[in-house]
């Protein structure tokens, strides 16, 4: 339960720039999701906060205390690693007990048993407690790894794609579970994911990273409705935002080179003709693959649409985004 601040953090690994002047404030109790492709600096950001790596320049504070001289153990953070990192020589139970038995916590055994039991219940691994950590499936290892973080009550949780290798059902269960654990405990959470459903449903704040730079930081809604660039706009939204040259529709500002259209920014039944290339019925919605002046577009339409391949439908932009040559948004 603490506010985390990053101020001007830069980090290079050899010639590789991992983080470039990242500044962000994670308010106490916030659930911050970091988005970006592989190599954008998401994991490095977690490592800076955890103390596993030190920034080349810049400062990290947790709860107002400068972390520069503190070891990971002293920072009171819990981390879920992308690679699970379960201790292979220990059982599941011993893995979960490990942080509680640390010389810093020295939890009494009764307390340990209670907490391990609770966490195992939540993560549905009670029947596996006495298995060797190596004798688990990938999904089970991932749950134990989450459990090892949840048995503690640290000031900050750091999670690196914790739900990535779970099946869809378990993932949606745990998404809700993690969110409620975080909300109940009031813990601050820094969470890395590729999954935009996780980002949209769990986050109070989203940070968009691009090659080590924090390009936008705000609520999920803000990032979605008011992206600063093509890059940021592409992080959220399913199907993805359509980016076309700005002159295919009229009315673009003179400096604009691209127009960005999310499905809901494409008005159907009015405007210019487009050609339906493919219709995908997903049950709750239908995706239309359109061809407009030889550009491809994907949009969403009524679930029970009678449109079919080869039809012609009129479309026009509705409050679209315009971007300049560098990809930055023009307001």
């Amino acid at each position: 339960m603490a506010e985390v601040t990053l101020t001007g953090i830069s980090k290079n690994y050899g010639d590789e720039v991992a983080l470039d002047d990242v500044t962000m404030t994670i308010p106490d109790g916030a659930f911050v999701v970091l988005l970006g492709p592989t190599g954008a600096g998401k994991t490095t950001t977690l490592r800076m906060v955890s103390g596993l790596d030190k920034p080349d320049t810049g400062a990290v504070t947790i709860g107002g205390r400068d972390m520069a001289a503190l070891t990971p153990a002293q920072r009171d953070v819990a981390m879920v690693f992308q690679q699970y990192s379960l201790y292979p020589h220990l059982t599941v139970r011993q893995n979960l007990e490990f942080p509680l038995k640390s010389p810093i916590l020295k939890t009494p055994q009764a307390e340990i048993d209670r907490k391990v039991g609770e966490v195992a219940e939540v993560l549905q691994i009670t029947h596996k407690l006495d298995n060797k950590a190596t004798a688990l499936s990938g999904g089970e290892m991932q749950r134990v790894s989450i459990g090892r973080a949840l048995v503690r009550e640290p000031s900050v949780y750091l999670m690196d794609e914790p739900l990535s290798s779970l099946d869809a059902k378990l993932r949606s269960d745990l998404r809700i579970e993690l969110k409620s654990i975080q909300a109940d405990s009031g813990a601050t959470m820094l969470y890395v994911t590729h999954d935009q459903t996780e980002a949209m449903t769990m986050a109070t704040h989203v940070g968009v990273l691009d090659n080590g730079r924090l390009v936008q930081y705000g609520s999920p809604r803000e990032i979605y409705e008011d992206p600063v660039s093509i890059y940021a706009a592409s992080r959220l939204g399913q199907p993805r935002i359509n980016v076309l040259p700005s002159d295919v529709f009229g009315g673009a500002p003179s400096t604009a080179t691209h127009i960005g259209l999310r499905p809901e920014q494409i008005m159907q039944g009015d405007g210019e003709d487009s050609f339906v290339q493919r219709v995908e019925h997903l049950g709750d919605q239908t995706r239309l693959h359109l061809s407009f002046k030889s550009h491809d577009l994907i949009t969403v339409t009524d679930a029970r649409t009678i449109l079919k391949e080869g039809d012609i439908i009129k479309i026009r932009p509705d409050k679209p985004f315009f971007f300049d040559a560098s990809g930055a948004r023009i307001s």
């Binding site: 955890s50 070891t71 953070v77 690679q83 699970y84 990192s85 490990f98 942080p99």
Partner: protein, 312 residues
């Protein structure tokens, strides 16, 4: 017919079996020879063609553990009946036991020096290997090469400087001196072998432990050491075998209080004729500790290294 990489065919199993048995015969015959000679009488031990079936006797072992003096039949008669079975054996050979030999002490010296240097070598080697594996050590590659280079000449090449150094330091013929010397010689082997094993252990385990509230050193012994057990066990066996069998330094640097068994065993020959059974008995007993140590650590040798709970 299905072919699998993991399951050998019947033919290859037979072939492998024959190969292993053949190799075992070649390596075991000298060993069996030594063990058998220890139970032969002096006459049988030098018989030609060699005697394969013989009447076993403990004479070699008695001679190994005792000092004896020659005695005329009259003197033996006068001494009265033999009190023990080993007295009896000695008397049958026309000798009287005058006291225990020094083999026991020498053997104990071997145990102290061999296991002492192995232990020290593992403690220092594991920590050095861990540091080389995990930390940014300045001039790391040069240092590793330098450590290895101590093995590029036969250790005996530096015998004279070491002899002089030991004399000045008062380490000649001391347990401490021999332990330090064998540790120094073995350290290059243990650092290199152990570095390889520790490199194999993913660093994520320690990072997890650091975050779980442990210090670097606690993470080292709670997480790294258990997983390096296989490597530590096999390295320890190598170090022990070297220290246990070392002859040249032991001859040069020890003569009395700290003399190990290897330089002592050949001296048995000279006491009363060529007593091969006693020498063979000494060698047989000398084999036992290394064999026991290896068998005790066998389970670690056979166990796989780290079957990952880390996703690659």
């Amino acid at each position: 017919m299905s072919f699998s990489v993991t399951e050998p065919t019947k033919g290859t199993k037979w072939f492998a079996g024959i190969l292993v048995i053949g190799y075992a015969c070649i390596t075991l015959v000298p060993l069996l020879w030594i063990v058998a000679t220890g139970f032969k009488s002096p006459a049988d031990s030098i018989a030609y063609p060699p005697v394969v079936v013989f009447e076993p006797t403990l004479e070699g072992y008695v001679n190994l553990f005792t000092d004896r003096t020659r005695a005329t039949p009259d003197m033996i008669e006068a001494a009265g009946p033999a009190e023990t079975w080993y007295d009896q054996i000695a008397r049958e050979r026309g000798t009287v036991i005058s006291g225990p030999s020094r083999y026991g002490e020498r053997f104990l010296n071997s145990v102290i020096i061999g296991f002492g240097s192995t232990f020290l070598c593992m403690v220092l080697g594991t920590m050095a290997a861990y540091a080389f594996s995990r930390f940014k050590v300045p001039l790391k590659d040069d240092l590793l090469f330098f450590i290895l280079s101590t093995r590029m000449m036969p250790p005996i090449a530096v015998a004279i400087p070491i002899f002089l150094m030991f004399r000045n330091l008062g380490l000649n013929d001391t347990h401490l001196g021999m332990i330090l010397l064998y540790t120094a010689v073995n350290l290059s082997l243990s650092v290199w072998l152990l570095k390889g094993f520790i490199d194999e252990i993913p660093i994520e385990y320690e990072e997890a432990a650091l975050i779980d509230g442990y210090t670097r050193f606690q993470a080292f012994y709670k997480v790294v050491l258990p997983q390096a057990a296989t490597g530590i066990a096999s390295t320890a066996i190598f170090c022990l075998i070297f220290a246990w069998n070392e002859y040249a330094f032991a001859v040069l640097l020890t003569s009395g209080t700290a003399q190990t068994a290897p330089p002592f065993i050949p001296t048995i020959i000279g006491t009363s004729g060529k007593d091969w059974p006693a020498v063979a008995a000494g060698a047989t007993i000398f084999l036992v500790p290394v064999m026991v140590f290896t068998i005790l650590l066998r389970k670690h040798l056979l166990r796989g290294i780290t079957f990952g709970a880390v996703r690659k």
